[in-house]
């Protein structure tokens, strides 16, 4: 048996999905697109039931990807039952989608979700609703698991004798005529197709043009003009008005408002949080606190993972062996030492890097889903929309860019929230230029050595250069390679709600699992390649100047000189490609002590190096994520070239101008 879940966004659809399927769920993509598809299984009296979560939509027109996916699924996969999840606190609006669903299928079960909250707003007559519509109606409170069992029971055993919404007689007559003409084409769902043909639905019109049904297209066109003449408005407005007057009527039949005009909590919170002047400062404070939380909590975990795998040098000259060392010694017992070294110092170290990313990624997703589920992100999108549009993104784009300061991997994954494909690509192209936590860590280390007296100034200047570049490039991209039509940005600001722990943890785990599986393998592979370059020819000191990496760096050093890059700096950049924080480790291999490192570069060279580090090729994890999210190798190449170009440009300008002016030398 197959059940599909439909409903508006913000109705608690995913909470019901989680409640129905528990942990038996799978997240993938709808074929060919990056819209998320969730499937799961449940059991009822020994019967196995597949449950598919359709994208949240307000209607079922042909003009958004989500709506097309939802309706095509019902048309083609023919689910046995569609559960329409309705936010009972926002009844009238939610009933509109119901009228569209009722045209598409007869077997609908209504879940009146958030029923407890709705009771404070209206008196809802559930029995009357069942009688009027002829389908099962189940009040639910998904966050407390109330009504879920009954919902499943009604879906399997319920009685359906649906009473479809009807249009005025003159329209209905024409729908019937089209329906009977449709019989010979054997497409099924005649009433739905008849209505859509009348409405001039782009997708359906194309379908009938393809099968050469000229007669029916002409007839529909003729009827459409007649109706437009009679009702004095365009067909879309006329048909939407009919549906809304049905849902308006139904709403007033079944619900009686109480306490009209009272001030809600959402009103009060928005009065401050979405305030014209205070809104943006409040947002910045919220993000600052969120990042503090993420780094405070993640650091001990990252240190523990690092200690476990890599061990630690003790102050008294001794050392604690990590798993990598131990496993190396153990394996050397029964295999050649080069192989053991490759497995442990190459691949296992790669795995350790993947795991050390994990705490940050999970926590950033925790914050993201908390902000999203509480309803706050919609306010941010509202506050920032006009500003972000200048760089070609909608308001929500600010979230991905800011997450980039934590880690570019979850930041790029979060661009899925952008509805527009072009804006999503633009956002992905800009994101690696935001310095992530790892790069900021390297900046902090190097500036503390080279710019001890004005460390803060140098750090802030790097951040400002990054933000200015992102803004400038966004502006240019919007006008050139990522140019496109203005798309509707009609967005609902849902009432504030306290997110559930279960909902957040499921979301957090899904995302992190995706990263581990897909990006993880690529990172481990890259770790292997870096090992080969750093350890060969066999016998040299790992990552030293006589290894392949060192030789390449020597070879590049005349070019590097133009940009103020020393051979050791170039070596460290190779390692940084693997993970940016490794730059610090590679310096510790290359130099005896801090003094030697400080003597190797002038202040000007150090600054050019920092600029290079800021922009150059993103780390492997980020590239793997870019590929996973765009499915385009060309796009990955674009991101690499973009970063390299900027890095070369900035370090060249800084070094040459600095030399000319004779500063920092």
């Amino acid at each position: 048996m197959l059940i599909a879940l439909a409903g508006n966004p913000n109705t608690g659809k995913s909470t019901i999905f989680n409640a129905l399927t528990g942990s038996h769920q799978h997240v993938g993509n709808w074929p060919g697109v990056t819209v998320e598809k969730k499937e799961g299984f449940t059991e009822y009296k020994g019967k196995r039931i597949k449950i598919v979560d359709l994208p949240g939509t307000y209607s079922l027109t042909a003009y958004s990807l989500e709506e097309l996916i939802a309706r095509n699924f019902i048309l083609e996969e023919k689910p046995d039952v569609v559960i329409d999840i309705i936010d009972s606190t926002n009844l009238e609006r939610n009933l509109y989608l119901l009228t569209e669903l009722m045209e598409l299928t007869d077997r609908i079960v209504i879940a009146l979700n958030m029923f407890d909250e709705a009771k404070k707003k209206y008196r809802i007559d559930v029995e009357k609703m069942k009688k009027i519509l002829g389908i099962p109606v189940v009040p639910t409170v998904a966050i407390r698991n109330e009504g879920i069992d009954e919902l499943l029971k009604e879906a399997v055993e319920g009685k359906f004798s649906i009473k479809k919404p009807s249009y005025p007689e003159d329209v209905e007559k024409r729908i019937k005529t089209l329906e009977s003409m449709l019989k010979k084409y054997k497409v099924g769902h005649e009433r739905w197709y008849a209505i859509k043909l009348l409405e001039n639905d782009g997708d359906v019109m194309k379908k009938f043009q393809r099968i050469g049904a000229k007669d029916i297209i002409h007839q529909a066109e003729h009827f459409r003009h007649e109706i437009e003449d009679v009702y004095g408005d365009d067909i879309e407005t006329v048909m939407a008005s009919f549906r809304y007057s049905f849902s308006h009527g139904l709403f007033h039949e079944i619900a009686e408002p109480i306490n009209v005009g009272g001030v809600t909590i959402t009103d009060m919170v928005d009065h401050v949080v979405a305030h014209k002047i205070f809104g943006i400062p409040i947002f910045l404070v919220v993000m600052y606190l969120a990042f503090n939380f993420v780094f405070e909590v993640a650091t001990p975990f990252q240190n523990a993972i690092d200690l476990l795998f890599n061990g630690k040098d003790l102050a008294n000259g001794g050392e604690i062996n990590g798993l990598i060392d131990l496993s190396y010694y153990w394996m050397t017992g029964f295999m050649p030492s080069w192989l053991s070294s490759f497995i442990n110092y190459g691949l296992l170290r790669g795995l350790a890097a993947v795991l050390s990313f994990l705490p940050i990624i999970m926590l950033l997703f925790l914050i993201l889903s908390f902000l999203e589920d509480s309803g706050y992100l919609a306010r941010v999108a509202f506050l920032m929309d006009r500003i972000m549009r200048k760089i070609g993104l909608e308001g929500r784009g600010i979230i991905s860019l800011m997450l980039g300061l934590g880690c570019n991997v979850p930041a790029i994954m979060s661009t899925r929230a952008l509805r527009n494909e072009r804006e999503r690509k633009l956002s992905i192209a800009l994101n690696p230029l935001i310095p992530c936590g790892a790069r900021i860590q390297v900046f902090a280390f190097l500036t503390s050595l080279f710019f001890a007296r004005n460390q803060a100034t140098v750090l802030w200047s790097l951040l400002l250069i990054s933000f200015a570049t992102v803004a400038f490039l966004g502006y240019i991209y919007k006008k050139t390679i990522f140019k496109g039509e203005v798309e509707p940005f009609v967005m609902e600001l849902p009432p504030y709600r306290l997110p559930t722990l279960k909902g957040i943890s499921i979301h957090m785990w899904e995302k992190s699992e995706g990263f581990l599986k897909k990006a993880g393998t690529i990172i481990i592979g890259a770790a292997g390649i870096i090992w080969l370059l750093a350890a060969l020819p066999w016998g040299v000191e790992y990552g030293s100047e006589s290894s392949y990496i060192g030789q390449i760096a020597q070879f590049l050093s005349p070019v590097g000189h133009l940009f103020g890059l020393t051979p050791q700096a170039i070596i460290s950049l190779f390692f940084g490609f693997f993970a940016k924080e490794v730059v610090i480790d590679s310096f510790t291999v290359l130099f005896e002590n801090r003094e030697a490192l400080m003597a190797s570069m002038t202040q000007l060279q150090a600054f050019s190096f920092l600029l290079f580090l800021l922009f150059y090729t993103p780390c492997v994890a980020t590239l793997a994520t870019v590929y996973r999210e765009t499915r385009s190798k060309r796009f990955v190449v674009f991101v690499i070239l973009e970063g390299l170009t900027l890095a070369l440009l900035f370090s060249f300008l800084a070094y040459q101008i600095g030399t000319l002016l004779g500063v920092g030398g």
Binding site: Y63, S64, V260, A378, P488, L493
Partner: protein, 143 residues
């Protein structure tokens, strides 16, 4: 006038949703249709987008979207000071509510006089003098 010309706190009745294409359809499916009551809630820092209350939900529209919506300014009855004469434009509710008000002489097109301000209000209609509670006054729109 256009929806984009209204100030926060003001209400309006949709007359027409112009244009075509994705924006047009999106406005319709969000329930912005001729006869819908819209209230302006608040503007963002740069004055665009703006949040509107539409059919019980808060919806944010950009300026170019709100410009497509032709409206007529209306005022909910509870904001009208005593002593004024106003014309009823629409009554927002189910059949029962509309009929009850009709019996008091409050229906679209009728002129009523406010005797006492909100709330409860006292109004004089062609059919006599009536007391109207807060819950009712919020759903009667006049000009």
């Amino acid at each position: 006038m256009r929806l984009s010309e209204l100030q926060p706190g003001e209400s309006a009745l949709v007359v027409r949703v112009s244009g075509s294409g994705p924006i047009h359809r999106r406005l319709l499916s969000m329930g912005i249709l001729p006869g819908t009551v819209i209230k302006v809630v608040r503007t963002s820092p740069l004055g665009d987008p703006v949040v509107y209350e539409i059919r019980g939900a808060f919806i944010s529209l950009r300026r170019n979207e709100a410009e497509q919506v032709e409206v007529e300014k209306i005022v909910p009855l509870h904001l009208i000071p005593p002593g004024s004469m106003v014309k009823v434009i629409m009554v927002d509710g189910g059949m029962g509510f509309i009929q009850n008000l009709h019996k008091m002489g409050i229906s679209p097109g009728r002129v009523i006089e406010i005797m006492k301000g909100c709330c409860p209000m006292v109004v004089r209609t062609p059919l006599g003098q009536f007391t109207i509670g807060r819950g009712m006054a919020y759903r009667i729109y006049v000009r």
